[in-house]
């Protein structure tokens, strides 16, 4: 994809180190952290409420299907729109590139003699850097969306697609308004009073900017000042949320009402519209409208939705000698038509720009939008930066995804955002060559014997520094930024080394289901005990545990690092090893491995020689997570457990009285790839409640910050996510934390160890095996 904005003045590309420094700076911004925290919590609650009683996934699927069909025929839809709109007197343009769109709009301004421009919020205008071009062409422009106006006054870009000034406090806004009121006429500070204007009736004079305490007063200042701009403008520029091909009509959603004034008052209206906003009919636009405001701001609908077709009667003419207003629709391609033909990423064009992927992103919550996108923000921002602004600008950004899939889960159009981010990483590393570290990692991990030999050596190498379960004696200088959690030691005996003995203990194998264990690296080499506990639980209900020795890493780490080939090679190795073992179920106690094998192998291995589509489908179907295996296949019930005693180690600051009946209060952390990746939420909680008192806590589903290789790349982010989670848990009164992912155990147990709080953290398998009735 051409990097279309490279000609203009650009901010310097950040090196990985500079990017991390900018993240650290954002992490230190306490106002931002507090604001985004509050937003994340409120958004979640409000969104749940606004979708209650609605078939949310059904609405999303409807939008996805409609958009997919539209993406198939964008050029036809454009042609249909053009023909109908032109017939109705609108002028329709198609700009291949951002530069072309900018030139088209400047030409429209020149032809109509426009000097003063008002804009209503448009991310597409940000995409083509229209503001820079307007200034260069000596056109005064004023943003009229309140948030956009504020950031225009500050000379910044938006930090959120829907709430562009969310990073600013009321005091900062008051300061900008005071400056604007004092400034001489001009695009950034037209005086509040026009020629002949009376003073405000209530204010009794020109704007006296409030001190910032009262947001209502600040909004009044904006209303007063911007109204003058509306009245004086010759040209209004908007975006559009829909372009309805059948009717040659556009639809615009706003809450403030600025788009209504922008489209009505000036004699010239220009709507800049991405080709992806084309929908066949009004019915299709309504499908989007049902979910867009709900997902964006948890509103049932935006206050205003304006639908415009033809040239509605106007008292203002669009050009000299014409009695009529003029309305131009400038469609922007800028890579969209190419993207529509990209089989792996075309669903990106389903995006309706609701911004929800930022609202739920734990990384966004920590550092805000200016570090989470070039123009577009959030998960979609990382992706669109690559497609619209080129790989150089996307390189650092696409790494800053923890892979928690919260975005994919909330997306209004069901886009596999996290999968596409992985795909982009792979494309970047394929075209640029991989960084040495990830290349080495890919090489090692796709070669099982080499990988396992290296792990064996690591076990011996750690001896001088390992004490018990943790690596303790590394000088801090060696840990650098990674010292926020205690690192686990590699186990003395890996699971694969112990397996012959464990297998031999099953002296009378039952006829129950053949359950193949996928150990994954963490269980095999760091936490084999968790897997031993699982074997106990499987056998107690008559299951037959199998362990194919040729299995290796699931391949997710390689994929996260953009090493596609390595990921494919390990996937194939595992597919063959497990297939040979003839299993009924393939279980992994690591949901990331299970998610990778169930949801990503079918794509990774599609078309691999010797792998039939049927075999692949059957393989994926039989991959199961641990808690579903226990509840639905092995049929565990409460009577199978003797409730666990309160843990001995729960002394110190977190020790609390146990819950009802003396059961320990157990909090749960829901691993990202279990809750969202595999969609499993009920079974682990049900199992905890069988063996203890389940204590729900806030943000159970929010990522712990481990994210596999993410925590190595961005330790400060990983640490901040972890600290937040542990603070909530420690304050909750829980006596024990159970989760069902070894990565989460590593992160949270290591963090607790470091914090010295001793909230015991264990894998669900350990917790349950300990509570199993002796008779089983």
């Amino acid at each position: 994809m051409a990097d279309l904005l490279d000609d203009g003045p650009e901010p310097k590309q950040l090196s990985p180190r500079e990017y991390r420094d900018s993240l650290k700076e954002a992490l230190g911004d306490t106002f931002l952290r507090k604001t985004l925290d509050k937003f994340a919590v409120q958004y979640k609650a409000n969104r749940e409420a606004i979708f209650s009683g609605l078939e949310e996934k059904g609405l999303i699927a409807e939008v996805a299907a409609m958009k997919d069909q539209s993406i198939d025929r964008l050029e036809d839809l454009y042609e249909e729109f053009r023909a109908e709109a032109s017939r109705k007197g609108m002028r329709v343009h198609l700009a291949k590139t951002a530069d072309e769109a900018v030139r088209t709009i400047i030409d429209i301004a020149r032809e109509s003699g426009a000097k003063r421009v008002i804009k209503s919020k448009s991310m597409t205008a940000e995409e083509i850097d229209l503001n820079g071009a307007l200034l260069e062409a000596s056109l005064d422009y004023v943003e009229t969306d309140l948030g956009e106006w504020i950031i225009q006054l500050r000379g910044e870009g938006p930090s959120h697609m829907v709430l562009p000034a969310i990073h600013l406090s009321r005091y900062q806004v008051a300061e900008e308004f005071a400056k604007a009121a004092a400034a001489p006429a001009g695009p950034h500070g037209d005086g509040p009073v026009g020629p002949g204007d009376p003073p405000g009736r209530q204010a009794g004079g020109p704007d006296r900017t409030p001190d910032g305490e009262d947001i209502g007063k600040l909004v009044k200042v904006a209303r007063r000042q911007l109204r003058a701009h509306f009245v004086q403008a010759d040209m209004g520029i908007t975006g559009a949320n829909f372009a309805v091909a059948k009717n040659g009509a556009i639809g615009l959603c706003t809450n403030e009402g600025n788009a209504r004034l922008t489209t009505n008052l000036p004699g010239v209206h220009v709507a800049l519209v991405g080709l992806d906003k084309l929908v066949p009919t009004a019915a299709d636009a309504l499908k989007v409208l049902r979910i867009l405001p709900r997902n964006a701001t948890a509103q049932p609908i935006t206050t205003y939705v304006s639908w415009i077709t033809g040239l509605p009667p106007s008292g203002q003419s669009g050009s000299v000698g014409s009695p009529q207003k003029s309305l131009h629709v400038v469609f922007l391609d800028n890579g969209r038509l190419d993207l529509a033909k990209d089989p792996k990423c075309r669903e990106v064009l389903r995006c309706v720009r609701c911004g929800a992927c930022a609202n739920v992103c734990p990384v966004y919550r920590l550092v805000g939008g200016h570090r989470m996108g070039y123009v577009y923000i959030g998960a979609i921002g990382l992706i669109l930066t690559y497609f619209f602004h080129g790989k150089e600008k996307a390189k650092q950004l696409v790494n800053n995804c923890v892979g928690c899939e919260a975005c994919k889960d909330v997306c209004a159009a069901g886009i596999d955002l996290s999968g596409i981010i992985s795909e982009i990483r792979a494309r970047i590393s394929e075209s640029d060559g991989s960084p040495a570290v990830s290349k080495l990692l890919g090489l090692v991990m796709s070669n099982r014997p080499l990988f396992h030999t290296l792990l064996k050596y690591a076990k011996f190498a750690q001896k001088p520094v390992a004490t018990g379960a943790y690596v303790r004696h590394l000088p801090t200088i060696l840990l650098g930024d990674h010292g926020f959690r205690a690192l686990p030691a590699i186990a003395n005996r890996s699971f694969r080394e112990a397996w012959p003995e464990i297998e031999a203990q099953d002296i009378a194998p039952k006829d129950g289901p053949r359950i193949a264990l996928m150990a994954g690296c963490a269980h095999d080499f760091i936490y084999p005990d968790q897997l031993v506990a699982a074997v106990k639980l499987i056998r107690a209900k008559g299951g037959r545990a199998l362990f194919p020795m040729e299995q290796s890493c699931c391949g997710l780490p390689s994929q996260m690092m953009g090493e596609r080939r390595a990921a494919e090679k390990t996937a194939l190795g595992n597919f063959l090893a497990f297939t040979e073992a003839r299993f009924d179920y393939l279980v992994s106690l690591c949901p990331s491995c299970a998610n990778q094998m169930k949801n990503r192998y079918p794509t990774l291995l599609a078309g691999s020689p010797g792998v039939s589509a049927e075999a692949l489908e059957s393989f994926a179907q039989r991959v199961i997570d641990f808690s579903t295996l226990l509840t639905q296949v092995l049929k565990y019930f409460p009577e199978d457990f003797t409730p666990a005693r309160a843990p001995n180690s729960a002394s110190g600051p977190v020790a609390r009285a146990s819950g009802a009946g003396g059961l320990p209060k157990v909090a749960y952390h829901s691993p990202c790839h279990l809750g969202r990746g595999l969609g499993v939420t009920g079974p682990p909680r049900a199992l905890i409640a069988m063996a203890g008192e389940y204590l729900p806590t806030e943000g159970e589903e929010v990522c712990c910050g481990f994210g596999g290789t993410y925590s190595l790349k961005f330790p400060e982010m990983s640490s901040a996510l972890m600290e937040r989670k542990l603070e909530v848990l420690e304050a909750s009164g829980a006596e024990r934390l159970v989760t069902d992912c070894p990565g989460c155990v590593l992160q949270l147990r290591g963090g607790e160890e470091k914090r010295g709080r001793r909230l015991p953290v264990e894998h669900l398998s350990e917790f349950l095996a300990r509570s199993l009735k002796p008779s089983l």
Partner: protein
């Protein structure tokens, strides 16, 4: 005297008195909508309106709705004269009466409303609104359709004056016939499709007062559009 409730719809006249209605038969799908479904929709509309700070007042007929509009204008706080380049002087403003814009009423309805305004000392105007882009206490318009599940009023086919009045006034009073309230956007689809089929049209879905959360995400009403939305629900409402 004002026309009877439902007169616009039944005659296929646009709410602004123009014969521009997309569907010559009726504005809403009242032919297809059973009275029971309509009652349910109206009840839902009222419930949802409260959630978006829309004040719903129930009136028996259009004249009662116009009475309310005149009263609201008379009782409103004085509207701010925003800087618009209009050549008024401070003295003119200080001494001026409250204003109510009602650009697209039929002559008979306008005459009725003018009488009410005169009694209450309110200045009534039809336009041109481009000369009155601020300092307007209230505006009255008629909606074509109500979408209950989002408490949305649909306005279409207004003249520019009708559109502008609904944007620049401080309190917008929207008359909505109870019989024109349908369940949701889906039920209003035929209306929207027909409206967009026209040679020119500006259709507005309006659900509450102008609002923003752009400063510290604090919800504030009245940014660029009206500070308040009052829906005068005309006719039997099922109570």
């Amino acid at each position: 005297m004002p026309q009877k409730p439902g007169a616009y719809g039944a005659q296929g006249l646009g709410p602004c008195g123009l014969n521009l209605c997309p569907n010559g038969e009726a504005m809403a799908s009242d032919a297809n909508q059973t009275s029971e479904a309509n009652l349910e929709a109206v009840a839902l509309f009222k419930k949802k309106a409260a959630e978006v700070s829309t004040l719903v007042i129930e009136v028996p007929d259009l004249s009662a709705a116009l009475d309310q509009a005149a009263r609201i204008a008379a009782q409103a706080d004085p509207a701010e004269r925003l800087p618009t380049g209009s050549p008024q002087t401070a003295r003119e403003i200080a001494g001026s009466p409250k204003r109510l814009a009602a650009p697209d009423l039929s002559e008979a309805d306008y005459a009725y409303l003018a009488g009410r305004c005169q009694e209450l000392g309110v200045e009534i105007l039809k336009g041109p609104m481009r000369e009155r882009l601020s300092g307007l206490e209230a505006a009255f318009s008629l909606a074509s359709l109500g979408l209950a599940d989002t408490a949305t009023c649909v306005m279409e086919n207004e003249t520019e004056d009708c559109r502008l009045a609904s944007m620049v006034c401080e309190t917008h009073v929207l008359g909505l016939y109870a019989k024109d309230v349908v369940q949701d956007g889906q039920a209003g689809l035929a209306f929207l499709e027909a409206a967009l089929d026209r040679e020119r049209n500006f259709v507005s879905f309006i659900s509450g007062a102008s609002r923003t959360s752009d400063i510290e995400r604090v919800l504030t009403l009245g940014v660029h559009g009206p500070l308040r939305l009052v829906v005068a629900l005309i006719g039997p409402s099922g109570d």
